[in-house]
Assembly symmetry: C2
DNA sequence: GTCTATAATGAGATAGAC
DNA sequence: GTCTATCTCATTATAGAC
Protein backbone atom coordinates (compact mmCIF):
# COMPACT_ATOMS: atom_id res chain seq x y z
CA UNK A 1 0.00 0.00 0.00
CA UNK A 2 1.41 3.34 -0.97
CA UNK A 3 1.67 5.94 1.71
CA UNK A 4 -0.34 9.11 1.61
CA UNK A 5 1.40 12.27 0.62
CA UNK A 6 2.01 14.36 3.66
CA UNK A 7 4.53 17.11 4.19
CA UNK A 8 5.33 15.76 7.62
CA UNK A 9 6.75 12.48 6.48
CA UNK A 10 8.27 13.22 3.13
CA UNK A 11 12.04 12.98 3.04
CA UNK A 12 12.74 14.29 -0.43
CA UNK A 13 11.38 17.34 -2.12
CA UNK A 14 9.02 16.47 -4.96
CA UNK A 15 10.57 16.55 -8.39
CA UNK A 16 9.73 19.24 -10.88
CA UNK A 17 7.96 16.65 -12.97
CA UNK A 18 5.86 15.58 -10.03
CA UNK A 19 4.90 19.14 -9.22
CA UNK A 20 3.96 19.76 -12.82
CA UNK A 21 1.76 16.69 -12.85
CA UNK A 22 0.15 17.73 -9.59
CA UNK A 23 -0.57 21.16 -11.04
CA UNK A 24 -2.06 19.74 -14.22
CA UNK A 25 -4.26 17.45 -12.16
CA UNK A 26 -5.57 20.32 -10.04
CA UNK A 27 -6.15 22.46 -13.13
CA UNK A 28 -8.02 19.70 -14.90
CA UNK A 29 -10.06 18.89 -11.80
CA UNK A 30 -10.91 22.56 -11.37
CA UNK A 31 -12.15 22.80 -14.91
CA UNK A 32 -14.15 19.57 -15.00
CA UNK A 33 -15.65 19.93 -11.52
CA UNK A 34 -16.73 23.47 -12.38
CA UNK A 35 -18.26 22.49 -15.71
CA UNK A 36 -19.92 19.21 -14.71
CA UNK A 37 -20.19 19.31 -10.94
CA UNK A 38 -18.72 16.93 -8.40
CA UNK A 39 -20.66 13.90 -9.62
CA UNK A 40 -20.58 14.80 -13.29
CA UNK A 41 -16.80 14.88 -13.52
CA UNK A 42 -15.05 11.53 -13.24
CA UNK A 43 -11.53 10.96 -11.99
CA UNK A 44 -10.83 9.20 -15.26
CA UNK A 45 -11.83 12.25 -17.28
CA UNK A 46 -9.74 14.44 -15.02
CA UNK A 47 -6.79 12.16 -15.63
CA UNK A 48 -7.28 12.32 -19.37
CA UNK A 49 -7.53 16.12 -19.31
CA UNK A 50 -4.36 16.29 -17.23
CA UNK A 51 -2.65 13.75 -19.52
CA UNK A 52 -1.97 11.48 -16.62
CA UNK A 53 -3.17 8.04 -15.56
CA UNK A 54 -6.21 7.68 -13.34
CA UNK A 55 -4.03 6.09 -10.68
CA UNK A 56 -1.84 9.16 -10.55
CA UNK A 57 -4.88 11.33 -9.98
CA UNK A 58 -5.64 9.24 -6.93
CA UNK A 59 -2.02 9.32 -5.83
CA UNK A 60 -1.83 13.10 -5.81
CA UNK A 61 -5.43 13.95 -5.10
CA UNK A 62 -6.45 11.20 -2.70
CA UNK A 63 -10.12 10.33 -2.75
CA UNK A 64 -12.48 12.26 -4.94
CA UNK A 65 -13.73 14.30 -1.98
CA UNK A 66 -10.20 15.15 -0.97
CA UNK A 67 -9.32 16.22 -4.50
CA UNK A 68 -12.39 18.42 -4.63
CA UNK A 69 -11.46 20.20 -1.44
CA UNK A 70 -7.83 20.57 -2.58
CA UNK A 71 -9.09 22.34 -5.70
CA UNK A 72 -11.31 24.69 -3.74
CA UNK A 73 -8.62 25.36 -1.18
CA UNK A 74 -5.85 26.10 -3.66
CA UNK A 75 -7.16 29.54 -4.65
CA UNK A 76 -9.33 30.25 -1.61
CA UNK A 77 -6.49 31.48 0.56
CA UNK A 78 -5.14 33.69 -2.22
CA UNK A 79 -8.56 35.14 -2.96
CA UNK A 80 -9.30 35.80 0.68
CA UNK A 81 -5.93 37.50 1.18
CA UNK A 82 -6.47 39.71 -1.85
CA UNK A 83 -9.84 40.84 -0.55
CA UNK A 84 -8.69 41.56 2.97
CA UNK A 85 -5.63 43.39 1.64
CA UNK A 86 -7.88 45.61 -0.45
CA UNK A 87 -9.98 46.42 2.60
CA UNK A 88 -6.83 47.42 4.47
CA UNK A 89 -5.64 49.51 1.57
CA UNK A 90 -8.88 51.47 1.43
CA UNK A 91 -8.90 51.86 5.19
CA UNK A 92 -5.44 53.34 5.30
CA UNK A 93 -6.36 55.74 2.52
CA UNK A 94 -9.37 56.79 4.61
CA UNK A 95 -11.67 55.64 1.80
CA UNK A 96 -13.29 52.56 3.25
CA UNK A 97 -16.89 53.30 2.34
CA UNK A 98 -19.60 51.00 0.97
CA UNK A 99 -18.34 51.39 -2.59
CA UNK A 100 -14.87 50.34 -1.47
CA UNK A 101 -16.26 47.27 0.29
CA UNK A 102 -18.12 46.18 -2.82
CA UNK A 103 -15.00 46.79 -4.85
CA UNK A 104 -12.90 44.78 -2.41
CA UNK A 105 -15.28 41.86 -2.66
CA UNK A 106 -15.97 41.85 -6.38
CA UNK A 107 -12.74 42.84 -8.06
CA UNK A 108 -10.21 40.29 -6.76
CA UNK A 109 -12.32 37.46 -8.15
CA UNK A 110 -13.92 38.93 -11.24
CA UNK A 111 -10.93 40.83 -12.59
CA UNK A 112 -9.25 37.43 -12.84
CA UNK A 113 -12.33 35.56 -13.97
CA UNK A 114 -12.92 37.32 -17.26
CA UNK A 115 -10.47 35.40 -19.44
CA UNK A 116 -12.67 32.84 -21.16
CA UNK A 117 -11.62 29.31 -20.26
CA UNK A 118 -9.07 30.73 -17.83
CA UNK A 119 -8.48 28.99 -14.50
CA UNK A 120 -10.20 31.68 -12.46
CA UNK A 121 -13.37 31.41 -14.51
CA UNK A 122 -13.48 27.74 -13.67
CA UNK A 123 -12.69 28.47 -10.07
CA UNK A 124 -15.45 31.05 -9.84
CA UNK A 125 -17.96 28.60 -11.23
CA UNK A 126 -16.76 26.03 -8.75
CA UNK A 127 -17.24 28.45 -5.87
CA UNK A 128 -20.76 29.06 -7.15
CA UNK A 129 -21.46 25.34 -6.86
CA UNK A 130 -19.94 25.10 -3.42
CA UNK A 131 -21.70 28.09 -1.93
CA UNK A 132 -25.18 27.02 -3.01
CA UNK A 133 -24.90 23.37 -2.04
CA UNK A 134 -25.27 22.43 1.59
CA UNK A 135 -23.35 19.22 0.94
CA UNK A 136 -20.21 21.34 0.93
CA UNK A 137 -21.00 23.37 4.02
CA UNK A 138 -17.86 22.10 5.71
CA UNK A 139 -15.73 23.50 2.90
CA UNK A 140 -17.68 26.72 2.92
CA UNK A 141 -17.24 27.35 6.61
CA UNK A 142 -13.57 26.52 6.45
CA UNK A 143 -12.62 28.60 3.43
CA UNK A 144 -15.22 31.32 2.99
CA UNK A 145 -16.85 32.06 6.32
CA UNK A 146 -13.93 34.00 7.83
CA UNK A 147 -13.91 36.43 4.91
CA UNK A 148 -17.69 36.67 5.01
CA UNK A 149 -17.59 37.49 8.71
CA UNK A 150 -15.05 40.21 8.09
CA UNK A 151 -17.12 41.82 5.35
CA UNK A 152 -20.29 41.68 7.45
CA UNK A 153 -18.37 43.25 10.32
CA UNK A 154 -17.17 46.11 8.12
CA UNK A 155 -20.68 46.57 6.75
CA UNK A 156 -21.90 46.86 10.31
CA UNK A 157 -19.43 49.65 11.04
CA UNK A 158 -20.55 51.59 7.99
CA UNK A 159 -24.24 50.91 8.62
CA UNK A 160 -24.69 51.30 12.37
CA UNK A 161 -28.00 50.15 13.75
CA UNK A 162 -28.68 47.63 10.99
CA UNK A 163 -29.32 44.14 12.33
CA UNK A 164 -26.61 41.55 11.61
CA UNK A 165 -29.16 39.19 9.99
CA UNK A 166 -29.97 41.91 7.50
CA UNK A 167 -26.32 42.46 6.70
CA UNK A 168 -25.70 38.75 6.33
CA UNK A 169 -28.66 38.38 4.00
CA UNK A 170 -27.55 41.24 1.78
CA UNK A 171 -23.99 39.98 1.79
CA UNK A 172 -25.27 36.64 0.47
CA UNK A 173 -27.16 38.51 -2.25
CA UNK A 174 -23.93 40.23 -3.28
CA UNK A 175 -22.10 36.90 -3.31
CA UNK A 176 -24.82 35.32 -5.39
CA UNK A 177 -25.00 38.19 -7.87
CA UNK A 178 -21.21 38.23 -8.16
CA UNK A 179 -21.07 34.55 -8.95
CA UNK A 180 -23.76 34.99 -11.58
CA UNK A 181 -21.27 36.86 -13.75
CA UNK A 182 -19.14 33.81 -14.49
CA UNK A 183 -22.02 31.32 -14.30
CA UNK A 184 -24.78 33.21 -16.07
CA UNK A 185 -23.07 35.70 -18.34
CA UNK A 186 -24.50 33.69 -21.23
CA UNK A 187 -27.97 34.61 -19.99
CA UNK A 188 -27.22 38.32 -20.35
CA UNK A 189 -27.03 38.14 -24.13
CA UNK A 190 -25.21 36.58 -27.04
CA UNK A 191 -22.10 38.69 -26.80
CA UNK A 192 -22.38 40.05 -23.31
CA UNK A 193 -19.41 42.13 -22.25
CA UNK A 194 -17.89 40.94 -18.95
CA UNK A 195 -16.48 44.36 -18.12
CA UNK A 196 -19.91 45.89 -18.54
CA UNK A 197 -21.47 43.18 -16.41
CA UNK A 198 -18.96 43.79 -13.62
CA UNK A 199 -19.65 47.51 -13.72
CA UNK A 200 -23.38 46.88 -13.45
CA UNK A 201 -22.85 44.36 -10.68
CA UNK A 202 -20.97 46.85 -8.53
CA UNK A 203 -23.61 49.53 -9.06
CA UNK A 204 -26.40 47.05 -8.31
CA UNK A 205 -24.85 45.83 -5.06
CA UNK A 206 -23.77 49.27 -3.92
CA UNK A 207 -27.33 50.54 -4.32
CA UNK A 208 -28.52 47.50 -2.39
CA UNK A 209 -26.29 48.43 0.56
CA UNK A 210 -26.78 52.21 0.40
CA UNK A 211 -30.47 51.49 0.71
CA UNK A 212 -29.74 50.58 4.34
CA UNK A 213 -28.14 53.91 5.20
CA UNK A 214 -30.41 56.23 7.13
CA UNK B 1 -39.89 -2.64 -27.03
CA UNK B 2 -42.43 -0.56 -25.16
CA UNK B 3 -43.72 2.52 -26.87
CA UNK B 4 -43.08 5.94 -25.55
CA UNK B 5 -45.83 7.66 -23.66
CA UNK B 6 -47.35 10.28 -25.87
CA UNK B 7 -50.77 11.88 -25.66
CA UNK B 8 -51.21 11.57 -29.39
CA UNK B 9 -51.15 7.81 -29.52
CA UNK B 10 -52.61 6.76 -26.24
CA UNK B 11 -55.96 5.05 -26.51
CA UNK B 12 -56.97 4.82 -22.88
CA UNK B 13 -56.82 7.41 -20.16
CA UNK B 14 -54.15 6.58 -17.58
CA UNK B 15 -55.46 4.98 -14.41
CA UNK B 16 -55.52 6.82 -11.14
CA UNK B 17 -52.80 4.52 -9.88
CA UNK B 18 -50.64 5.31 -12.86
CA UNK B 19 -51.10 9.04 -12.40
CA UNK B 20 -50.24 8.73 -8.74
CA UNK B 21 -47.07 6.84 -9.58
CA UNK B 22 -46.16 9.38 -12.19
CA UNK B 23 -46.66 12.18 -9.67
CA UNK B 24 -44.57 10.45 -7.04
CA UNK B 25 -41.81 9.90 -9.59
CA UNK B 26 -41.77 13.57 -10.58
CA UNK B 27 -41.82 14.65 -6.93
CA UNK B 28 -38.96 12.34 -6.05
CA UNK B 29 -36.96 13.37 -9.10
CA UNK B 30 -37.50 17.02 -8.28
CA UNK B 31 -36.22 16.52 -4.78
CA UNK B 32 -33.21 14.38 -5.61
CA UNK B 33 -32.14 16.35 -8.68
CA UNK B 34 -32.35 19.56 -6.66
CA UNK B 35 -30.37 18.15 -3.74
CA UNK B 36 -27.70 16.21 -5.62
CA UNK B 37 -27.72 17.61 -9.14
CA UNK B 38 -28.37 15.82 -12.40
CA UNK B 39 -25.42 13.46 -12.11
CA UNK B 40 -25.57 13.05 -8.36
CA UNK B 41 -29.11 11.69 -8.33
CA UNK B 42 -29.57 8.23 -9.79
CA UNK B 43 -32.74 6.87 -11.35
CA UNK B 44 -32.59 4.06 -8.84
CA UNK B 45 -32.62 6.43 -5.90
CA UNK B 46 -35.48 8.32 -7.50
CA UNK B 47 -37.37 5.06 -7.85
CA UNK B 48 -36.73 4.18 -4.23
CA UNK B 49 -37.88 7.60 -3.05
CA UNK B 50 -41.02 7.29 -5.17
CA UNK B 51 -41.55 3.71 -3.98
CA UNK B 52 -41.59 2.32 -7.50
CA UNK B 53 -39.20 0.16 -9.47
CA UNK B 54 -36.39 1.67 -11.48
CA UNK B 55 -38.00 0.36 -14.63
CA UNK B 56 -41.16 2.29 -13.92
CA UNK B 57 -39.18 5.47 -13.57
CA UNK B 58 -37.87 4.91 -17.06
CA UNK B 59 -41.33 4.01 -18.33
CA UNK B 60 -42.88 7.27 -17.14
CA UNK B 61 -39.90 9.54 -17.31
CA UNK B 62 -38.12 8.27 -20.40
CA UNK B 63 -34.38 8.81 -20.40
CA UNK B 64 -32.74 10.64 -17.56
CA UNK B 65 -32.50 13.82 -19.64
CA UNK B 66 -36.16 13.63 -20.52
CA UNK B 67 -37.15 13.12 -16.91
CA UNK B 68 -35.07 16.09 -15.88
CA UNK B 69 -36.76 18.36 -18.36
CA UNK B 70 -40.19 17.01 -17.39
CA UNK B 71 -39.47 17.99 -13.80
CA UNK B 72 -38.37 21.49 -14.75
CA UNK B 73 -41.28 21.95 -17.12
CA UNK B 74 -43.97 20.80 -14.72
CA UNK B 75 -43.92 23.94 -12.59
CA UNK B 76 -42.35 26.33 -15.08
CA UNK B 77 -45.57 27.12 -16.90
CA UNK B 78 -47.43 27.66 -13.64
CA UNK B 79 -44.71 29.90 -12.26
CA UNK B 80 -44.49 31.94 -15.41
CA UNK B 81 -48.26 32.38 -15.55
CA UNK B 82 -48.36 33.52 -11.95
CA UNK B 83 -45.69 36.13 -12.60
CA UNK B 84 -47.26 37.50 -15.74
CA UNK B 85 -50.68 37.59 -14.07
CA UNK B 86 -49.25 39.65 -11.24
CA UNK B 87 -47.77 42.11 -13.72
CA UNK B 88 -51.18 42.47 -15.35
CA UNK B 89 -52.84 42.92 -12.00
CA UNK B 90 -50.52 45.75 -11.03
CA UNK B 91 -50.86 47.32 -14.45
CA UNK B 92 -54.63 47.41 -14.28
CA UNK B 93 -54.46 48.94 -10.82
CA UNK B 94 -52.17 51.61 -12.25
CA UNK B 95 -49.45 50.51 -9.83
CA UNK B 96 -46.91 48.86 -12.10
CA UNK B 97 -43.77 50.49 -10.78
CA UNK B 98 -40.33 49.01 -10.06
CA UNK B 99 -41.42 47.73 -6.67
CA UNK B 100 -44.35 45.94 -8.29
CA UNK B 101 -42.07 44.32 -10.85
CA UNK B 102 -39.74 43.02 -8.17
CA UNK B 103 -42.74 41.76 -6.24
CA UNK B 104 -44.15 40.06 -9.34
CA UNK B 105 -40.85 38.27 -9.91
CA UNK B 106 -39.98 37.28 -6.37
CA UNK B 107 -43.25 36.44 -4.66
CA UNK B 108 -44.76 33.74 -6.90
CA UNK B 109 -41.70 31.57 -6.37
CA UNK B 110 -40.56 32.42 -2.88
CA UNK B 111 -43.95 32.57 -1.17
CA UNK B 112 -44.29 28.92 -2.14
CA UNK B 113 -40.68 28.02 -1.50
CA UNK B 114 -40.55 28.70 2.22
CA UNK B 115 -42.03 25.43 3.49
CA UNK B 116 -38.95 23.40 4.42
CA UNK B 117 -38.73 20.23 2.36
CA UNK B 118 -41.77 21.36 0.35
CA UNK B 119 -41.88 20.72 -3.38
CA UNK B 120 -41.36 24.36 -4.31
CA UNK B 121 -38.19 24.59 -2.27
CA UNK B 122 -36.82 21.70 -4.25
CA UNK B 123 -38.05 23.22 -7.47
CA UNK B 124 -36.41 26.54 -6.67
CA UNK B 125 -33.11 24.83 -5.99
CA UNK B 126 -33.46 22.96 -9.24
CA UNK B 127 -34.04 26.18 -11.14
CA UNK B 128 -30.91 27.56 -9.52
CA UNK B 129 -28.94 24.64 -10.96
CA UNK B 130 -30.49 25.01 -14.37
CA UNK B 131 -30.00 28.73 -14.71
CA UNK B 132 -26.32 28.68 -13.82
CA UNK B 133 -25.32 25.72 -15.95
CA UNK B 134 -24.87 26.22 -19.65
CA UNK B 135 -25.47 22.50 -20.20
CA UNK B 136 -29.16 23.24 -19.70
CA UNK B 137 -29.33 26.32 -21.88
CA UNK B 138 -31.92 24.63 -24.11
CA UNK B 139 -34.23 24.17 -21.13
CA UNK B 140 -33.55 27.69 -19.98
CA UNK B 141 -34.43 29.30 -23.27
CA UNK B 142 -37.53 27.23 -23.63
CA UNK B 143 -38.97 27.72 -20.15
CA UNK B 144 -37.51 30.88 -18.71
CA UNK B 145 -36.46 33.20 -21.50
CA UNK B 146 -39.98 34.35 -22.46
CA UNK B 147 -40.67 35.52 -18.92
CA UNK B 148 -37.25 37.11 -18.69
CA UNK B 149 -37.86 39.00 -21.93
CA UNK B 150 -41.16 40.27 -20.61
CA UNK B 151 -39.62 41.52 -17.36
CA UNK B 152 -36.77 43.22 -19.19
CA UNK B 153 -39.29 44.86 -21.50
CA UNK B 154 -41.28 46.20 -18.56
CA UNK B 155 -38.10 47.41 -16.89
CA UNK B 156 -37.30 49.28 -20.10
CA UNK B 157 -40.64 51.06 -20.02
CA UNK B 158 -40.09 52.15 -16.43
CA UNK B 159 -36.47 53.10 -17.02
CA UNK B 160 -36.43 54.82 -20.40
CA UNK B 161 -33.01 55.46 -21.86
CA UNK B 162 -31.29 52.59 -20.05
CA UNK B 163 -29.52 50.18 -22.42
CA UNK B 164 -31.09 46.71 -22.76
CA UNK B 165 -27.78 45.04 -21.87
CA UNK B 166 -27.82 46.88 -18.57
CA UNK B 167 -31.38 45.80 -17.86
CA UNK B 168 -30.61 42.21 -18.77
CA UNK B 169 -27.56 42.19 -16.51
CA UNK B 170 -29.48 43.56 -13.55
CA UNK B 171 -32.36 41.19 -14.19
CA UNK B 172 -29.89 38.30 -13.96
CA UNK B 173 -28.62 39.70 -10.65
CA UNK B 174 -32.18 39.72 -9.34
CA UNK B 175 -32.69 36.14 -10.51
CA UNK B 176 -29.46 35.06 -8.90
CA UNK B 177 -30.16 36.83 -5.60
CA UNK B 178 -33.68 35.40 -5.56
CA UNK B 179 -32.46 31.87 -6.03
CA UNK B 180 -29.94 32.37 -3.24
CA UNK B 181 -32.80 32.40 -0.73
CA UNK B 182 -33.64 28.71 -1.18
CA UNK B 183 -30.09 27.64 -1.99
CA UNK B 184 -28.09 29.68 0.47
CA UNK B 185 -30.41 30.51 3.34
CA UNK B 186 -28.20 28.30 5.47
CA UNK B 187 -25.36 30.76 4.86
CA UNK B 188 -27.36 33.62 6.36
CA UNK B 189 -27.25 32.15 9.85
CA UNK B 190 -28.21 29.18 11.96
CA UNK B 191 -31.88 30.01 12.23
CA UNK B 192 -32.32 32.44 9.40
CA UNK B 193 -35.90 33.54 8.90
CA UNK B 194 -37.07 33.04 5.31
CA UNK B 195 -39.68 35.82 5.54
CA UNK B 196 -37.01 38.24 6.66
CA UNK B 197 -34.70 37.12 3.86
CA UNK B 198 -37.43 37.67 1.27
CA UNK B 199 -38.11 41.14 2.63
CA UNK B 200 -34.42 42.01 2.40
CA UNK B 201 -34.19 40.52 -1.07
CA UNK B 202 -36.96 42.73 -2.40
CA UNK B 203 -35.43 45.83 -0.85
CA UNK B 204 -32.00 44.92 -2.20
CA UNK B 205 -33.21 44.36 -5.75
CA UNK B 206 -35.52 47.36 -5.76
CA UNK B 207 -32.63 49.60 -4.75
CA UNK B 208 -30.57 48.02 -7.50
CA UNK B 209 -33.15 49.01 -10.10
CA UNK B 210 -34.05 52.42 -8.69
CA UNK B 211 -30.38 53.20 -8.99
CA UNK B 212 -30.93 53.35 -12.75
CA UNK B 213 -33.68 55.97 -12.58
CA UNK B 214 -32.51 59.44 -13.53
C1' DG C 1 -48.80 -0.44 -16.10
C1' DT C 2 -45.78 -2.82 -13.38
C1' DC C 3 -42.48 -5.94 -12.29
C1' DT C 4 -37.78 -8.95 -12.25
C1' DA C 5 -33.72 -9.75 -14.49
C1' DT C 6 -29.91 -8.49 -17.00
C1' DA C 7 -26.96 -6.38 -20.49
C1' DA C 8 -23.43 -2.98 -21.18
C1' DT C 9 -20.88 0.52 -19.49
C1' DG C 10 -18.35 3.29 -16.43
C1' DA C 11 -17.37 4.51 -11.81
C1' DG C 12 -13.81 4.92 -7.51
C1' DA C 13 -10.29 2.66 -5.44
C1' DT C 14 -6.13 -0.16 -4.95
C1' DA C 15 -2.30 -3.70 -5.76
C1' DG C 16 1.96 -4.30 -7.43
C1' DA C 17 5.65 -3.87 -11.17
C1' DC C 18 9.18 -0.66 -12.48
C1' DG D 1 6.38 8.95 -8.96
C1' DT D 2 4.18 6.66 -12.47
C1' DC D 3 2.16 3.11 -14.78
C1' DT D 4 -1.03 -1.16 -16.13
C1' DA D 5 -4.27 -4.12 -14.56
C1' DT D 6 -7.96 -5.32 -11.91
C1' DC D 7 -11.51 -5.57 -8.12
C1' DT D 8 -15.96 -4.31 -6.85
C1' DC D 9 -19.81 -1.82 -7.22
C1' DA D 10 -23.36 1.35 -9.20
C1' DT D 11 -25.08 3.22 -13.22
C1' DT D 12 -28.59 3.71 -17.42
C1' DA D 13 -31.24 1.34 -20.27
C1' DT D 14 -33.96 -2.40 -22.05
C1' DA D 15 -36.07 -7.07 -22.66
C1' DG D 16 -39.75 -9.78 -21.54
C1' DA D 17 -43.11 -12.05 -18.18
C1' DC D 18 -47.57 -11.00 -16.12
Amino acid sequence: MSRKIDDKDRLRAPSAKSLAAQGRILDAAEKLFSLYGFDGASLRDIGKAAEVSAALVAHHGGTKDELFEKVVARRAAELSALRLALIEEYRQAGQLDLAALVEAYVTPLLSRAVTPDGPWVHYARLVAHVSTDERWSAITSKWFDPTAARFVEELGLLLPGVAPEVLRARYVFMVSATLSVPTALWRMGENADPARAIQELKAFCLAGFKDLAV
